[in-house]
Amino acid sequence: MSEPSRTPERLLQDLSALHDGELDAAALAALTREWAAESELRADWHTYALIGDVLRSDDLASPADHDSAFLQRLRGRLADEPVVFAPMPASKGIELPAQPAVPMPAAVGDNQRRWFRPAAVGAACMAVAGVAMVLRLGDPTPTGDVMAQAGTATAPAASSVQIVRNAELDRYLSAHRQFAQGAALASPAALRQVAVTPDGR
């Protein structure tokens, strides 16, 4: 009892090579088009895959109706999925993209990122301004504009105010000074005046 395939041998040879990843891109594109159109070719693909599995392990043998029912059910779900596209390099046909591809659902994420970036910058500016305001109000010796104090790193008298220095914060601030529009605002001298008086105020 034996049954040769009705698929042309040339296609079966390509199918066999594709199974092993040994088919060039042009032939692969042509074969997948044929595969989509020919149920016989799809059956041959399943047969080759099943043979490979059974060669590895007998317990991978499964009836064809089980496998086809699985695919039919999955097709129903795939039909509801958007077709996935990944950006490809402009110069090459189907080479792997150099950068991580973005899935279709992530397009929404892109939109979110588009407004999120300026919003994040704005929020950061507001936070810095807020801290500066609090410092101004909380400073026991507000003798002028905080901006005016920027140039003078002179600390208040040690007897009345204890300067809280944070080395990590200092490094962070100096690293970001060049990016600050108002250098004085980002000045460690201005922001470092987080002060605690000896009496706890």
Binding site: D20, E22, I51, D58, S68, E81, F85, P103
Partner: protein
């Protein structure tokens, strides 16, 4: 260690170009291995099916992000393990959770289960059919000539590329390609009557 080129890279790239049928080819190729993997983690055969379905859907959605740092099957394997673990955690939290947990939101109509067939993997008929398939493949490979058997064994079991097989067998790559194809066809000829692929548009 030199990484083997991924045999599925070409099909993966086709999927990334929007070719859903290429994804179906990958499903047919790996569905049995994924089901067996999940079956080792989950006992309920219906749940195994659901998790396997969900695995492929998740893989399809995430495929544009797959960069080929590992083989496609390795990547798919990880998705299957994670999906199964999540299902087991959900079951632990709420033992009443069934496949509905995996259905998409528009599958709420409980009277409609498109494409959902009764599970057949555990029936005596299915087990018998599976055994018959395995016996037929094994008998067919034993009947192959030494050259054909060695070529397909080196490819399917050892995972060697055609180039490596041509080195081992000391023959041109074209000959390797031809031998592997002839070996597959010789086995397929014996197998097709059991697969009953002539009836209708099964695939």
């Amino acid at each position: 260690m030199i990484q083997q080129p991924d045999a599925d890279a070409g099909l993966v790239e086709r999927v990334k170009l929007g070719d859903q049928k290429a994804f179906e080819m990958l499903v047919i190729k790996y569905q049995r291995r994924i089901e067996r993997l999940i079956g080792r983690m989950v006992r309920d055969t219906d749940l195994v099916q659901d998790i396997a379905q969900e695995t492929f859907i998740r893989a399809y959605r995430a495929l544009p992000q797959f960069r080929g740092d590992s083989a496609f099957y390795t990547w798919l394997y990880r998705i299957a393990v994670n999906t199964a673990k999540k299902a087991l955690m959900d079951l632990k939290r709420d033992p009443l959770i069934t496949e509905a947990a995996f259905a998409s939101s528009d599958d709420d109509d409980e009277t409609s289960r498109p494409g959902k067939e009764p599970t057949d993997t555990a029936t005596p008929e299915a087990l018998l059919a599976s055994k018959e398939i395995a016996a037929t493949v094994n008998a067919a490979i034993n009947a192959l000539s030494e050259d054909l058997r060695q070529a397909i064994t080196l490819r399917e079991i050892e995972g060697l590329s055609y180039e490596e097989i041509s080195d081992v067998m000391n023959c041109p790559i074209g000959t390797v390609r031809s031998r592997i194809f002839r070996a597959r066809e010789a086995i397929a000829v014996k197998l097709r009557p059991l697969l009953d692929t002539r009836d209708g548009e099964r695939w």
